[in-house]
């Protein structure tokens, strides 16, 4: 059995992420889950698009595809259908997955292609300097929403459930143990597994939204995460759910027909 550290490309570290950026934590959790699977490095492929989040495969010692912006899932589908024996893991960002890559996202979920997709949702375009993304919350500041975003945000996990993914979970870069477990379950589930990770981008999100310190961002995620079971209970009781909360936990686990499952 390998350990998470055996998968790291140590000659590329330290990575380019800013101080306190949550992307590095998501890499740790993903590698910890993968090392528990007993997979070989040369049977595993990481695929990503463009963005800070999408640079993750560059720090991992396997073959990988760093593709064009938004197209990670299209490339990953190709890899999986051509070689179903490979384990395919996708790293993507909220902009990459839900803005330019939105169509690939829903159709990969609909086709239920056998792969695991980890989305680092920092609610912003981090790499290009902080433009608003489809997950920027209403009222939040970004370089393209100087008066606060006037649009409603996508709930990526709910979108994946509606589009047909077999496994969907959401956690944050603070909930490291729960996140690792969710990714491990996703890796084991045939069909498309989607794990959304709320991730802090102190540089381009926190700085503009009164969460200047990394600890402010972590505190915000900790206090605004609402367990899905609790949310369902509150709803059934008719108790209103406080503003700004997001659900965490396992949203769905099912066995719809999947594509590209190893024979």
């Amino acid at each position: 059995m390998t350990s998470a550290r055996d998968w790291l490309r140590t000659d590329r570290l330290p990575h380019i992420y800013c101080t306190g950026c949550g992307n590095g934590t998501v890499i740790n959790c993903t590698l910890a889950a993968i090392s528990g699977m007993g997979w070989e490095r040369d049977e595993t492929v990481f695929v990503s698009g463009i963005g800070c989040s999408s640079r993750a495969p560059g720090y991992i010692q396997t073959d990988s595809l760093h593709t064009t912006h938004g197209r990670a899932l299209a490339f990953a589908t190709g890899v999986k259908l051509a070689k179903p024996d490979l384990n395919v893991v996708v790293f993507t960002g909220d902009g990459d997955l839900a803005a330019i890559g939105g169509n690939h996202f829903i159709h990969a979920c609909r086709r239920n292609v056998d792969m695991t997709v980890v989305c680092m949702n920092n609610q912003i375009y981090g790499m290009t300097g902080g433009q608003g993304s489809p997950t920027t919350p209403m009222g939040a500041q970004s370089t393209t929403t100087p008066y606060g975003s006037a649009e409603a945000a996508f709930d990526l996990a709910e979108l994946a459930v509606a589009a047909g993914a077999n496994y969907v979970a959401r956690w944050t870069a603070y909930h490291v143990k729960e996140l690792t477990k969710a990714i491990a379950t996703g890796l084991q589930t045939p069909g498309l597994s989607f794990i959304e990770v709320m991730t802090q981008c102190p540089t381009n999100y926190g700085r503009r939204n009164k969460q200047r310190r990394v600890s402010d961002m972590i505190e915000h995620m900790r206090t605004h995460a609402l367990l899905i079971e609790k949310k369902r209970r509150l709803e059934s009781e008719g108790t209103p759910i406080p503003e700004g909360m997001f659900t965490v936990g396992e949203l769905v686990r099912r066995a719809r027909p999947a594509m590209g499952v190893r024979r």
Binding site: R5, P14, G20, G24, I218
Partner: protein
């Protein structure tokens, strides 16, 4: 086992300070050679993983290592007869 921060990787975000249940990590005060204020360890021998990893054969707690975005925290085997600070609690 001994807890160590790799100063060539740490960027001084203090996330480890936030999560350690024993508050072993404390915010540093002095910048190092790279200009980074690395946290300092307060009596790291209290760490569960340092004490019990060998006995249980797996990582215990380990949240600092998991959350450290810069892969800067690890445990290292101690040298034989390494000097220890002894503290008598009463």
């Amino acid at each position: 086992m001994k807890l160590v921060i790799d100063e060539s990787r740490c960027k001084g975000c203090n996330l480890c300070v936030l999560v350690c249940p024993y508050t072993i990590f404390q915010e540093g005060t002095k910048p190092n050679r790279r200009g980074i204020v690395v946290p300092v360890l307060d009596r790291p021998e209290r760490c569960t993983n340092c004490r019990l990893q060998a006995l249980y054969g797996r990582t215990l707690c380990g949240v600092c290592q998991m959350i450290c975005p810069d892969q800067a925290i690890h445990w290292k085997e101690e040298e034989p007869y390494e000097a220890h600070r002894v503290e008598v609690e009463y």
